[in-house]
């Protein structure tokens, strides 16, 4: 009996610790975004804005009015959505083959995906920088979409193959018995069944692309294609020790809103996708 109470208290304490761990830094960056810029320049230590050191919504107004910032948000949304869409389509085809068909080279596909997931991306920026300039796609959307696609493919392929294995494939066979070709069976029967998995893969892919920084700073040079993480890091000046903290915090909060919304609405799907295939099931 005593043991039970103890374990219940332990779980409750653990729950609080997890919530503090996850949300405290988020609360901090929100709180910081409400400190006024004068207060920050003069120094205003402490978690909350000091009395008289608050800025109200001013930092948010400034951020939203900033052309560079707006352009960066637009770039990020556009680039990430296109990359996600294309990556998921390609990964769906691949995952279907991996989960369903017997073919030579399946191992090669899976190994390639595994190696790419572990690839040190920085080692690619040099050659890509050079290649992209030769091809004329340096500092363009397409120049970022291509690497985002290749680096989200492994995640999308794994997630989707794990989902595809759960699909009742007898239905596909039934369709084939009824005279559908392999392709028709895939498109008419399997795609609707696989849609939830595809959607999960899309969210994870979007997260990954939205989070990218290395390609964002290396393969762009102007605001034409610079995505939001890179834009934040270049936001003002090049002195890393004297940034307009509260303005940056407001920008960071704005850049985080899409992610938080996705998490709030699709929490279950994301967890399922992240852990799909991570353990032998």
């Amino acid at each position: 009996m005593r043991n039970d109470t103890l374990s219940r208290i332990g779980t409750a304490v653990g729950l609080i610790l997890i919530l503090v761990w996850c949300l405290l830094p988020v609360a901090w960056i929100i709180s910081l975004s409400f400190k006024s810029q004068e207060a920050v320049t003069n120094g205003s230590p402490g978690f909350f804005p000091s009395s008289g050191g608050g800025a109200g919504w001013q930092n948010y107004v400034d951020v939203v009015k900033d052309d560079q910032f707006r352009q960066a948000i637009f770039n990020s949304i556009g680039i990430c959505l296109i990359a996600t869409l294309l990556s998921v389509v390609i990964a769906t085809l691949t995952a279907y083959a991996v989960a369903r068909l017997e073919f030579k080279g399946k191992k090669f596909v899976l190994t390639t995906a595994l190696v790419i997931a572990m690839f040190p991306v920085v080692s690619l920026v040099g050659p890509l920088f050079d290649m992209w300039r030769t091809l004329g796609i340096y500092d363009t959307w397409i120049g970022l979409i291509i690497p985002y696609m290749s680096f989200t493919l492994p995640l999308a392929i794994w997630t989707l193959s794990a989902f595809f294995r759960e699909i009742p494939w007898e239905m596909e066979q039934a369709a084939q018995v009824d005279g559908a070709t392999a392709w028709q069976a895939f498109r008419r029967v399997i795609v609707p069944l696989a849609a939830p998995g595809v959607f999960t893969a899309a969210i994870l892919t979007f997260f990954f692309a939205w989070n990218d920084f290395v390609f964002g700073i290396s393969l762009t040079s102007t605001e034409r294609a610079r995505p939001i993480p890179a834009a934040l890091s270049f936001f003002v000046g090049d002195d890393p020790f004297n940034r307009p903290a509260s303005l940056l915090a407001a920008g960071a909060v704005v850049a985080t809103v899409p992610i938080v919304l996705l998490v709030l609405f699709f929490q279950r799907k994301i967890v399922a996708g992240l852990t799909a295939g991570a353990v032998k099931g």
């Binding site: 830094p25 230590p45 493919l153």
Partner: protein, 310 residues
């Protein structure tokens, strides 16, 4: 490949199956081709190009002055103290962050596993650090540790309120690692939670009935049953940590000797346009990731077929 003559002599049914499997093979190749082409276009091809460029003395500011130097760039890099210092930093960050992520992530996973209420709330919260951009996490922690605008100094008892975390190697590294650990522990916790669900309940009950203490159950029942999940999580996180770049770029920009090997490579290529030596560093970075991956797989005997292919 069977020849036509052979096929003809075989019984009809077999011929049909092999036809079917050949059609299946062809379809599969068509389906996987775009993904493979894309993945190789952005990795294998540039890597080969890096290998080629690393043999030259090549600066983008003087592109016509490209001269073949053989392995000179590698010798320069490997005999430079900077390379070894940054590799040591990277390995240090990898070992420390993965250790803390594993311990804290496991504790979180245990709590989430036991939880009967507020499950949705916890899952939603735990996904937020995972989803937050690393650059934002770096800023949040940089400002938190800042002695002019942060709160960390005032929250630590007996701490000098003017202590500058970024003025010294060890404290700057600590700040970087806090940001890294904060952001990635939830991912670790989710992977471990999935592993925890694989531990057979009846085995735990049996151990309990036999009078095993909590500690014994943890080490004799839970952990051995989660071995595969733990190893996969460690492998993935370790290789990710080895690539650390964003946090360092944002928080210290390499000051106080906190550069990682990725940061060094980036600086050579993008900031100094040294494509020759930068490419050599790229190749070395790639090789060191391979070594780390190989080391972990061998050391812990990770069964990769139990991993992601699930």
């Amino acid at each position: 490949m069977t020849t036509t003559a052979e096929t003809a002599t075989k019984p009809r049914r077999e011929a049909r199956t092999s036809d079917k499997s050949r059609a299946e093979n062809r379809l599969a190749i068509k389906l996987v081709a775009p993904a493979i082409a894309l993945m190789l276009l952005v990795t294998a091809f540039p890597m080969l190009r890096a290998l080629y460029l690393s043999m030259f003395d090549y600066t983008l500011t003087a592109p016509d002055d490209r001269t073949f130097v053989g392995f000179q760039n590698y010798l320069t890099a490997l005999s430079d103290q900077l390379f070894w210092r940054d590799t040591a930093n990277t390995v240090f960050i990898m070992v420390v962050t993965v250790f803390f992520e594993l311990v804290i992530g496991f504790a979180f996973a245990m709590v989430m596993h036991k939880l009967i209420f507020a499950r949705g709330l916890v899952r939603t919260s735990i996904l937020i650090p995972y989803g937050i951009i690393t650059v934002v996490s770096g800023f949040a922690w940089q400002f938190a540790f800042s002695n002019t605008n942060g709160f960390v100094n005032s929250w630590i008892p007996f701490m000098n309120p003017d202590f500058n975390w970024f003025g010294d190697y060890w404290s700057a590294m600590a700040a970087i690692m806090v940001s890294e650990i904060w952001k990635t522990t939830p991912f670790m916790a989710l992977l471990l939670l999935a592993g925890l669900a694989q531990v057979p309940e009846d085995m735990l009950e049996a151990a309990k009935v036999d009078g095993a203490t909590w500690w014994q159950r943890l080490w004799r029942v839970i952990l051995p049953n989660m071995r595969a999940a733990i190893m996969v999580a460690v492998l993935f996180r370790a290789l990710d940590a080895y690539r650390i770049f964003d946090n360092i770029f944002v928080m210290t920009n390499g000051a106080q000797g906190t550069e990682s090997i990725s940061f060094l490579t980036y600086r050579q290529v993008i900031e100094q346009f040294q494509l020759g030596i930068g490419s050599a560093l790229s190749v070395l970075l790639f090789l060191s990731v391979l070594v780390v991956a190989f080391g972990i797989v061998k050391l812990f005997r990770v069964d990769l077929s139990a991993a992601r292919q699930g």
